[in-house]
Subunit: 333 residues, 4 copies
Amino acid sequence: MIVVLKSNVDAARENQLIDWLKNMGLGVHVSVGEYQTVLGLIGDTSKVDTDLISSLDIVESVKRVSETFKCVNRKFHPEDTVVSIGDVKIGGGNFCLIAGPCSVETEEQIISVAKAVKAAGASLMRGGAFKPRTSPYDFQGLKDRGLDLLRIARKETGLPIVTEIMSITDLPLFEDIDVLQVGARNMQNFDLLKELGQTRKPILLKRGLANTLKELLMSAEYIMANGNENVILCERGIRTYSDYLRNTLDLSAVPMLHELSHLPVIVDPSHATGIARMVPPMALAATAAGADGLIIEVHNDPMHALCDGPQSLTPEEYAALVPKILSVREAIR
Amino acid sequence: MIVVLKSNVDAARENQLIDWLKNMGLGVHVSVGEYQTVLGLIGDTSKVDTDLISSLDIVESVKRVSETFKCVNRKFHPEDTVVSIGDVKIGGGNFCLIAGPCSVETEEQIISVAKAVKAAGASLMRGGAFKPRTSPYDFQGLKDRGLDLLRIARKETGLPIVTEIMSITDLPLFEDIDVLQVGARNMQNFDLLKELGQTRKPILLKRGLANTLKELLMSAEYIMANGNENVILCERGIRTYSDYLRNTLDLSAVPMLHELSHLPVIVDPSHATGIARMVPPMALAATAAGADGLIIEVHNDPMHALCDGPQSLTPEEYAALVPKILSVREAIR
Amino acid sequence: MIVVLKSNVDAARENQLIDWLKNMGLGVHVSVGEYQTVLGLIGDTSKVDTDLISSLDIVESVKRVSETFKCVNRKFHPEDTVVSIGDVKIGGGNFCLIAGPCSVETEEQIISVAKAVKAAGASLMRGGAFKPRTSPYDFQGLKDRGLDLLRIARKETGLPIVTEIMSITDLPLFEDIDVLQVGARNMQNFDLLKELGQTRKPILLKRGLANTLKELLMSAEYIMANGNENVILCERGIRTYSDYLRNTLDLSAVPMLHELSHLPVIVDPSHATGIARMVPPMALAATAAGADGLIIEVHNDPMHALCDGPQSLTPEEYAALVPKILSVREAIR
Amino acid sequence: MIVVLKSNVDAARENQLIDWLKNMGLGVHVSVGEYQTVLGLIGDTSKVDTDLISSLDIVESVKRVSETFKCVNRKFHPEDTVVSIGDVKIGGGNFCLIAGPCSVETEEQIISVAKAVKAAGASLMRGGAFKPRTSPYDFQGLKDRGLDLLRIARKETGLPIVTEIMSITDLPLFEDIDVLQVGARNMQNFDLLKELGQTRKPILLKRGLANTLKELLMSAEYIMANGNENVILCERGIRTYSDYLRNTLDLSAVPMLHELSHLPVIVDPSHATGIARMVPPMALAATAAGADGLIIEVHNDPMHALCDGPQSLTPEEYAALVPKILSVREAIR
């Protein structure tokens, strides 16, 4: 960490700061320049509050040299992490298609969609049983009954299940669920993250609505620091001033997250755009950007879907899209 | 709700849509214009998914006529809500000063700050025991021990306690806490909101990092729809591309929330700016904008605060600020 | 246009509004619902100020039914526009590679880069002679001398020139320039747009830093409404709270602009990311999203570039990228 | 400037970088830490491209120690600048009220509004003759005829004129105009800024839609570096994801700009909110935040205003607001 002092700082105050830093167990390397003095801090600076130091009136600026994220950091783990869900692998060159309805609605619906997406090439199915909704009056999901329906569909198709968990207290219900999704609104629900870190389940962690890449990585760090290394990052669109689309899909997050971290990165083009006809071009673009997988909403009857119908592809549209995705994947090798 | 159809829509598809809407129990008022047809939906449209309808290829646009928020809506409750915490009142002309450290650290610290802010004019004290931190390696709060220290400070000073709850599972620990704060990162932790709706505790609900006013009101609606009417809204700065300040304090939220809702609205200038010397001007500005109260971080030793030191005022700075706040409050009457 | 009145509006005030609208030459279609009255406005509503009407206290909301953009609107021009620059075509299935240095620096530099990008497959060269820079102390471009160097490179290679114009007063200098670029900061320099509308030159119009798609289309409308139909739209990244990248490349703009407008849409992955090693994945993603072309910065010596060196590819990197771009282009057919 | 190298950097490459920096005329102070090496650059680093250096693969990060803005910087000019327009002063404790219609429409209108705002306490009048509009089909202003009407109103009332200039080519028309406004969309129209720097006119420089404080200061620097020291900064709301208001008024910009720069800072609550009834609370809040003045839209007949009617106060509303503004001003002394 580098602390740049203002010019003409009082020597007594400067020494007071240096002593305080040394009391924190840090080495302090003082470098006196023409106009100002720079302190280089050596040792474990991960617990130093840069905001505090930069607020001191003798300090010009503070700059961390090393990231505060450790477990997720590619520097400390150069090879790609590969997350395994049964026979399915994500990351490290393994590309993965996840598909299914926004919400689980009926046994018939989830089985028929699961069969259709499997036939089209998906290797995991998604479906929401616990649904976070902006309005308390919107459909909140079938909850444990929805999980049961997912289990039935898994039995029918063999596809492992990806579904969202919203609360620690629901954890026992998810014991045999294959991949636990943390939704965008819960990306910084730290108690939930810690608890998921205690499990060994694969966790699909979605980027929050307006969170930076660093914040996403720090949330993954919460899970990994508690012992669970099976984390999949997911870009799903961020909030901007977009006028025609729900969110702005930030595809540059894909190569940047790959550079910063060893974790697999997948993309959700359905929530990102909110419009079914925008899903195919953005799915292809995400693939071209190097994503390790795609999570796409597919519904057998989008017009009657209880939630997020407008962004769902039909099974036929999905089946038409998959070969193009694979062609793009081939093209960028 | 108004549904505008595209021009030259196939009559069969139009009728199909109209029938579908009628099957939802809605009245449909068809108005044929020169270039297009407009459907007016009458009845309870609160459960209609506008995104779904607007995604249909025969639909040009959809416009809700009435807000989806009900309990929090000033239209259905024209008088200001006044939230009472013992003798302290917020809203409806009652202005309230809340102050204290970001984190509870030691008994000595919390008592001395509580006494100082009471002497300066505060009528509630704040102090974090459970701390949401971006990094798992940052100080996470003293937890239940912190709550005990707050109780001691309350006994010493008589000031009611405002402190953050992060998880449903902690709720039993907060039984005798006066005001439960929901932090920005948990604004859309709907399970937590529902649970708090089951209590009758005053809830201080902070606006999320990048949430709209409507989303804030819908989160308050979660609490109120579950039966708890004691909700205080709090603007604490939103995320933008600000370069010199942590967040952008959106003070226009104050009069706009007052127009949309009957709930009291307070402002947190400390988290909004992240810089102690910016707190006084923004506290004054919030007061002039019509806020019903201010929640301000005060620490007896900001340089050694375990969290958010740089944005804390000293007790002396706070004591100097309060009379100015009251003068501005007087000036806008 | 649809005007929804509040419930229980005074009839006299309602009639006053209706008369005022009729005085503007509009037909007014009144539809009385259970709770409120809706006015449908028929005729040329393009000059009606929706903000004004929505601010009236008897009005609940106002909704435009038809876009205010006309010339650029695909509804009025269903086929793709193809812009021709000599033998080079952009749009309507014609894909176009534009490449070159951020700034023209020396004759040797521009000729060598132009030859290299031509050899790699580019059909237009870019190079800035007039440079908009945030700081007055940064290199502002070689100006007319730079244009001369571009002409020399064109003579050597046959590649048409794309270069930025910043001011009306410079227009005479650009008489034989092939494509005039309007930079992001000038997207709403309406006097410049009008003047360029008077020419018949192809105009490459970059989206502004934080402008919506509608605003971009309205700026294109300024050019087209003045008679120039040769407009190419360009997405180049928007400002968000991105932490590791300069801007956020909004690739969903590509399919959405294609839906809204018949104009060709190209993408600039260099300015969007600001980091050379992020350019290839984002160039491929843009291609997969359906872009009609790519404008990429290439410099023979990025480390010594006078501006934007860090985002420039070397000629070798560019030559390695082009075949992948063409493969992705093939894959999405 | 501080350049932090990555750990384990090849010595040859490190020396190559150091030599290159020295060749730019900089002193390089090398400080070898436990894990990495830090280079301190001494001398005129204002022309060093930090993006370039930070993109080098041996570089971890780059941090500027001193701001690139000089003339506008309070460090180099500790006293407040006071801009004088005839007898009217802005800055350094001088508070200034500017008011008038968005657009000049008729002689009667501008005279009556000018008289009204003067009577209410305004000391400068505003009124747009050249209007930047998103749509080419919206009213573009009366242009030179509008300037004439402003002159007539000035003669009648003695109030100096503030009006927007959109293009260099119009400059001769503005010779006797008192204050030239640069609108938000032209904040980075650098050719215009340079030309205004050649005059000695007071320039009211509005912050762009999504520009940072640093960018605003750099644009002011363009004017000052060309010799004109009479610059007034203006906060007018920034673009966010606001749902009920046009823009988000960033009042924390006021104290922060005062800290960074000696220039006066005024606020435009009319454009910031877009809603007349939000103007009074935000005008009072801006005053409490320490603004040096307010520019407010007042129209004698907002319902018939040709532009921005919904955000205009009536003369009566303005007259009622001014005493409250002055009371708040008094309260924060």
